[in-house]
């Protein structure tokens, strides 16, 4: 019994060492947690703020959000991943049953073949220019018209707006043939817009382009949701309708405009109804990608791999564009706090 009493004081320093290590670790964890919070705060305050039911709820929400975002992102990206891998396979890898994800030999054969059969670079340039032109025209026309619908009262406005909605609803199958006939003999002048980019540019500038009714509707709803005081103060300061529109309304609508531009750009890029009907021989990606099925011969597996590669090549520039446009999205959030 006595011996034990003697031993304990000796053990104490040994025991003290261990908590020291954990304490240090704990301190480090605390520092890390505190550095993540937005405000400067002490540990006690953090505990009071977060270690309760509210904090638990927030933590659970954090986990749910993480799982949702990662899960959905995976579902969207997985097919792309597979296609990306296929495009780097060699012809042997594709028929090899033991190859699942990592190509055994690996080659750029399919990429090169897709580039040549699609006439990729020149078609890409044409597609980009066409999509850019059409998207810009559609954006400005729909912003203009949408503002007109949102803030002015004039005779026949409701009928006009119903027609815009009708434009959205009528299937393109219904009008594509008469439209072709009309554009082939433009307003009875014998001028043909078929197989020229003017066909689409003309449709865009008159607000009849692909899904233009939707853009007009989106813009109208957006402007109607904006506070009227903004314009009123501009009018009181002596600005006219155009000046108010350009210097007060447009800067506030910038994020909606970027969204619409992105829609117009991507849908023009991937569109088939108007492109194939009105410009079947123009050198653009949606037309040249059809060469892939024709030129690759009888081997179905190879055609499949080539289709995978070329569709990936078709979409890749769009993703890059969106990556850049994303910055402006964020900018416009920061601005909207300042302007109003």
């Amino acid at each position: 019994m006595e011996e034990n009493n003697v031993v304990t004081p000796n053990e104490v320093p040994v025991k003290e060492k261990k908590p020291n290590f954990f304490k240090k670790l704990w301190e480090k964890i605390k520092e890390k947690i505190l550095s993540h919070s937005e405000e400067v705060m002490t540990w006690d305050r953090w505990k009071r703020k977060n270690l309760n039911l509210n904090g638990l709820g927030r933590f659970c929400w954090y986990i749910v959000r993480l799982v949702l975002i990662i899960g959905i992102s995976f579902m969207i990206l997985y097919p792309f991943l597979v296609k990306g891998i296929v495009s780097f396979m060699s012809t042997n890898d594709i028929t090899d049953n033991t190859v699942m994800y990592l190509p055994r030999e690996g080659s750029t054969y399919f990429i090169q073949k897709a580039l040549t059969t699609m006439d990729y670079w020149s078609a890409l340039l044409n597609t980009a220019l066409l999509s850019l032109g059409v998207a810009i025209l559609q954006l400005f026309v729909s912003t203009f018209v949408g503002y007109g619908f949102a803030r002015f009262k004039f005779w026949g406005k409701n009928v006009l707006f119903l027609l815009v909605i009708l434009m959205l609803i009528v299937p393109s199958q219904t009008i594509i043939l008469p439209l072709y006939v009309n554009l082939n003999n433009f307003l009875g002048t014998g001028l043909s817009f078929i197989d020229t980019p003017f066909a689409l540019l003309f449709l865009a500038i008159t607000g009849l382009g692909l899904k233009n009714g939707l853009y007009i509707y989106m813009m109208r709803q957006f402007f109607r949701g904006m506070p009227k005081e903004l314009e009123m103060s501009a009018y009181i300061d002596g600005a006219g309708h155009f000046r108010t529109f350009f210097s007060v309304m447009l800067p506030n609508a910038s994020n909606m405009m970027i969204t619409i531009f992105l829609f117009a750009f991507t849908w023009q890029w991937t569109d088939t109804t108007y492109n194939t009907m009105l410009m079947p021989n123009l050198n653009i990606l949606t037309n040249t990608i059809m060469n892939v099925t024709v030129s690759s011969g009888d081997d179905v597996t190879q055609t499949q791999a080539l289709l995978d590669t070329s569709s990936l090549l078709l979409i890749l520039p769009l993703l890059i564009v969106f990556l850049f446009a994303q910055r402006y999205f964020i900018q416009s959030i920061e601005r909207s706090g300042l302007v109003e």
Binding site: S172, L177, P178, L307
Partner: protein
Amino acid sequence: MSVQAKEVKVKKSRKPVMSLERKNSFFGYIFTLPIIIGLAFVYLPVLFQSLMYSFGDINITNEGWQVSWAGWQNYNQALFVEEGFLRTVIESIGTLLPQILIVIIFAFFMANILNQKFRGRTIARVIFFIPVIISTGIVSELDSMSSMLDVYNSGGKMETGGASGANIFGYNQIEELITNTLNNATLSNIVIGAVDSLYSVITSSGVQMLVFLAGLQGISVNMYEAAKVEGATGWEVFWKISFPMISPLILVNLIYTVIDLFLKSDNAAIQFINRYLDNASTYEVASAFSWIYTIVILLFVGIVFLLVKKLIVYQD
């Protein structure tokens, strides 16, 4: 004397109001001028021609198209002779109704999540944009082409769950992944069913998500700050600020979803119309079909509009 003076004053003060109204309507025409020109000179004539085709009998001669009046013959054929169209339309409406609601709720929910601050938000937004590209146009067309190839390719690598599937960017690869990892027929069927419907919801809600996101970002930060100062909870902020401010866009998205799902190329009714459209001799019937279908969609959109109208808060 004093009464007369008052009347004169009132008249004077009314005059500028009238001219402002006139000015207002003048600028209304100026702003909507592009669409007025487009509708008057191109769209309405084209629509009228299409309507004439649906009431006509088209003969293709050496000189071109000749359309002769045939009355209700095509509509009669479309509704009573070629059976199955109305049934297809009603069936597709039945399947679309729940889908529309789910898409809207999902898009609103995800837009709210994407509007929150978290690490990797930029990347998440780029990824969520991808369905906007892959659910329309050339990609969906290549999908069907690719699945045709798949049919020819019986017994190759694809059945063993290799790298290539039926759809270009579809869920087939994910399906394969699930069957390979689960190794249990009933369980994997259930999971595939769930993933399948989730995938179709995700691919058809990309646009709606972006529209909601842009709307959410348009809400002034000051409003949230004011609410915070007044002591509003997150729940109250959502229902009193976010929801009313974004409600005009809910209508846009609802109508867009209805139209998008009705006009999607894999919709049964659209496929029905396309089958007739491919054949030049049945073009009249096809345009009669598409006019009937247009009226159905129009009615549907009208009903949606009337139902949702009361929920919406406009600023004017």
